[in-house]
Symmetry: D2
Subunit: 337 residues, 4 copies
Amino acid sequence: MIIVLKPNTTREEAEPILKRIEDLGCKPLYLPGTERVVLGAIGDERVLDSLHLEGHPLVEQIHQVLSPYKLVSREFHPHDTLVRIGDVPVGGQGFAVIAGPCSVESQEQLHQTAEAVQKAGAHCLRGGAYKPRTSPYSFQGLGEAGLELLQGVSNALSMPVITEVVEAADIDRVIEHADALQVGARNMQNYRLLKALGQCDKPVLLKRGMSAELKELLLAAEHIVAQGNGNVILCERGIRTFETATRNTLDLNAVPYLKQRSHLPVVVDPSHGTGLRDLVAPMSRAAAACGADGIIVEVHCDPSVALSDGQQSLYPEQFKELMDGLRPIVEALGRTL
Amino acid sequence: MIIVLKPNTTREEAEPILKRIEDLGCKPLYLPGTERVVLGAIGDERVLDSLHLEGHPLVEQIHQVLSPYKLVSREFHPHDTLVRIGDVPVGGQGFAVIAGPCSVESQEQLHQTAEAVQKAGAHCLRGGAYKPRTSPYSFQGLGEAGLELLQGVSNALSMPVITEVVEAADIDRVIEHADALQVGARNMQNYRLLKALGQCDKPVLLKRGMSAELKELLLAAEHIVAQGNGNVILCERGIRTFETATRNTLDLNAVPYLKQRSHLPVVVDPSHGTGLRDLVAPMSRAAAACGADGIIVEVHCDPSVALSDGQQSLYPEQFKELMDGLRPIVEALGRTL
Amino acid sequence: MIIVLKPNTTREEAEPILKRIEDLGCKPLYLPGTERVVLGAIGDERVLDSLHLEGHPLVEQIHQVLSPYKLVSREFHPHDTLVRIGDVPVGGQGFAVIAGPCSVESQEQLHQTAEAVQKAGAHCLRGGAYKPRTSPYSFQGLGEAGLELLQGVSNALSMPVITEVVEAADIDRVIEHADALQVGARNMQNYRLLKALGQCDKPVLLKRGMSAELKELLLAAEHIVAQGNGNVILCERGIRTFETATRNTLDLNAVPYLKQRSHLPVVVDPSHGTGLRDLVAPMSRAAAACGADGIIVEVHCDPSVALSDGQQSLYPEQFKELMDGLRPIVEALGRTL
Amino acid sequence: MIIVLKPNTTREEAEPILKRIEDLGCKPLYLPGTERVVLGAIGDERVLDSLHLEGHPLVEQIHQVLSPYKLVSREFHPHDTLVRIGDVPVGGQGFAVIAGPCSVESQEQLHQTAEAVQKAGAHCLRGGAYKPRTSPYSFQGLGEAGLELLQGVSNALSMPVITEVVEAADIDRVIEHADALQVGARNMQNYRLLKALGQCDKPVLLKRGMSAELKELLLAAEHIVAQGNGNVILCERGIRTFETATRNTLDLNAVPYLKQRSHLPVVVDPSHGTGLRDLVAPMSRAAAACGADGIIVEVHCDPSVALSDGQQSLYPEQFKELMDGLRPIVEALGRTL
């Protein structure tokens, strides 16, 4: 940790700070420059964090030398982690495709959609039973009835299923019905939820928050892993920027950035990442090309009447085309679809 | 609602959409232009929302004519709402000052800080017992013990107290100890929490999410009010932008914008809104000058050792100066401090 | 154009606005709803723009039905435009690779770099002679001497060259030495420069501004094309967001979005779009996969001593690897590298 | 300057970097830590900038200790700079009000507006003759004829005038007619223009770019001051964020931040900063309250027919109310209006 002191700070004034560093068991350095005094603190930055120097009146800036996350970092664990949703591996040689409707609306809608995406080559089913919605007047999901529909279709088609959980209190119920749990963008920093998910043994697909830095996404994953559940899949789903032509700005830089710094698998959600049906297929190809381990895509048997996210949901035939266009890219990279 | 159809859509193709509008009990309009056909739908936009036309393949754009929120709007309820935290009115003639430490750390720290801010003129105490923290390695708050300390100091000084609640399951416990509940920025779209708060009778201070549009803040408030609790205070606390010189960008435009469109009181958090101790006093004055109903400020008896947010916490004497500088501004506006 | 009037506006008050629409030769519509009166104006939106109604005290909102650009739109001109830089086509079957140093620093540096990128398969050379730099104390480019070096190397290697122009007054000089002109992100809305470029006959590579919406990029291109120069190449180079892990956020959504709405070719700059050397190759593949017509990449014979943008410049051998990884992707899409 | 090296870098590998620091006349430090080696470089950071180490393959991060600007900083020049536009001081005890139409449209429009704002208490006239516009189909200003109208009205009313200059080549002409020159947000990083303005002796009002960090605004000012013209006024005019309820997000944090770090005067443009007429008066008060030295406001004798920015232009009577509301705030701060 590097600590830059305010102009004209004397050695004497710096002494108590050097002492605080030493008291933590770290090694303090005193580095007088031409216009500023700089202090160094050598040791574990996670320990140094408890120095709480950011509020000190003599401190001008603090620079961290090491990353604030550890368990999820590649430095700590150099090899790729492979996470299994049911029997579908995510993070290995294969490219995983998770597809299905935004919300579970009815048995028929779910079954018809699931059958279509499976036939086109999807490995895993998605569908929301609890829907966090911006307006209190929008459809909020079928709740537990939706979970049962998901499990029924999943069993009928032998297709593992992933669904969102919005509160720690729901985890036990959701776990009974689903093969993996999704944390939505709005809950990426719901630490109670993360902690509770860290104590269960199902895989967690963690979506990046709409305004979360990549460092914060990795720290959110660290919250889960630190509790003992290492089966975390990171998901880039677009961030909020000034651009309104698309619903979100899909930040594909995140894919190689995360893969280089973390051992966890990374998937991309081109549906929320664009918000526009016509952009989903090209951005799925782009996700594969820059190294993503899979995609999670919204498909609806009839988007023209979808109760949520209709604008970004693919028609079944569009999803088939997406898969056909994706295959040569995935294979060109030496992976399998 | 205005619905712009894709180029070359025929009247015949538009018919089923017109019928869907009519079936909802609304009045459809067919408006052929030179390059596009436009449809109008006259009726309650909250009803029209259930048309779910955004996913229709013939629809190019949808424009809403009315705002998506209702109960919190000034059109619906023209007069200012006055919310009381204990006996402190927020939203009337007075300018409310809520002050205290970021986190409750100890009895001594809390009592000393509370006494100092009360002496300088603060009306209400703040302090966090449950702290959502980005890193799993940071101080997470004292929990229930913190709540008890808050209540003790509040009683001793006859100063009402507000504290954050992070999960619906905690509400009953927090309500016993506090006069008002705060929803943090990370939870602004935690709809389970909002719904549960809507069913209790304590005032709620709702912070704007870091990347929430003002429309979304008002919709979050609508989630609470729609459940029956009208005692909601809106809080601008800075948004996330590209600017990193300050921790957040305090969006004071929000103050007159919200006051003009909603009847709910609006307060400002210049501590999180700037992240820098030296900006807190000037931005408090600016908040008052543009019409805020109060401020919520972090003060610590010794910020140089604060366990959280030390960088933005004021020293007690700085808070006194803030109050001294604020008074003439508040009075120039015909209000009282 | 759809014009929403303020609540309680009467027919009588709306009449003068309807008249203004009619006086422009457009067709006015009067559409009273339940809570608002809406007016329609049928005709060319570029004509309707001169209504200047946005400041009218009775107007609450204005929604445009048609896009504000025309000449660059695919509706106006359905077929792809192919632009030639020297003899290198951009926008056709081939995938164009433009590579070279950020700044021209010396004959040796330029020649060595150009030779390396050509050998690895680049089609076109890039290099800056006039460098807009944030700090007045940074290297500002070699100016005219740099232009001469560029032309010399271009001739020696029979490799067309593109370079940045920063002011209308420089165009004549730059045109003599280069095959195409680049407008940098900071100049995307320098309308004098755009207008002057519209009056010359060399191709223009127009970079998206750091905070420019896609609509604004297309309007900037419209400024050039409206003057008579249709040889415009659009370039996505990353936008400024809250994310600081990367220098910019490369917005690849822009690629299919622009290709669907405009006939102009689109290239991607993964060097500025990431700012990190290790992300350039994966993002080049992603750009190709989502439909870009080419890339523009910074390469330096020795980035460890580069006078600008060293952090994002590739070593020659890294560029060769980039090309090797790009080839199968480009071919999987049925294009050639 | 602090240089963090990549993991596992040896002392031997670090040697050439230490040598480069020494060769520049600075003092190198070698600081091995537990997981990283850190190097320090003591000396002028503007000299250290020419190290060009950011591209070095062994370098992981670089942290600057000192600010990259110097001449505009308060450390270099502790006392407030007072800039005079004609005989109107900006940056002293008074609070300067600059008002007038967005564009000069006609003699009558300009004279009528100028007379009204002067009567209400404005000190200085504004008006655009050269208008940079996003669409090539919008009104682009009257050009030189507009300059003559500005000068005529300025003389008739003895009111100094400020107008925008968009290109270095125009400066000589604009200087003849105006008392101060404005650099628009889109030109904040037009370094040719900044350099040329630095060589003239009229005051320059420099607007912050739409996505410019405060550090970049100060560096843009440094470009002007470094050429010899110290009469620079900084102007906060709103930044581009995800919020679309207002045209821009007025970042008033900028005011105390800039005043604390720079000796230059700071004014605020609440017209562009909000884009909504009803927010201009409250945000003007807020600007004064947080320490701005003045405001620049758009007023039009009849905004309902304004050729540009009508939505944010005040009616003359609204401007009078703004002034009446501003006076007690300005006086409460011990300044005069």
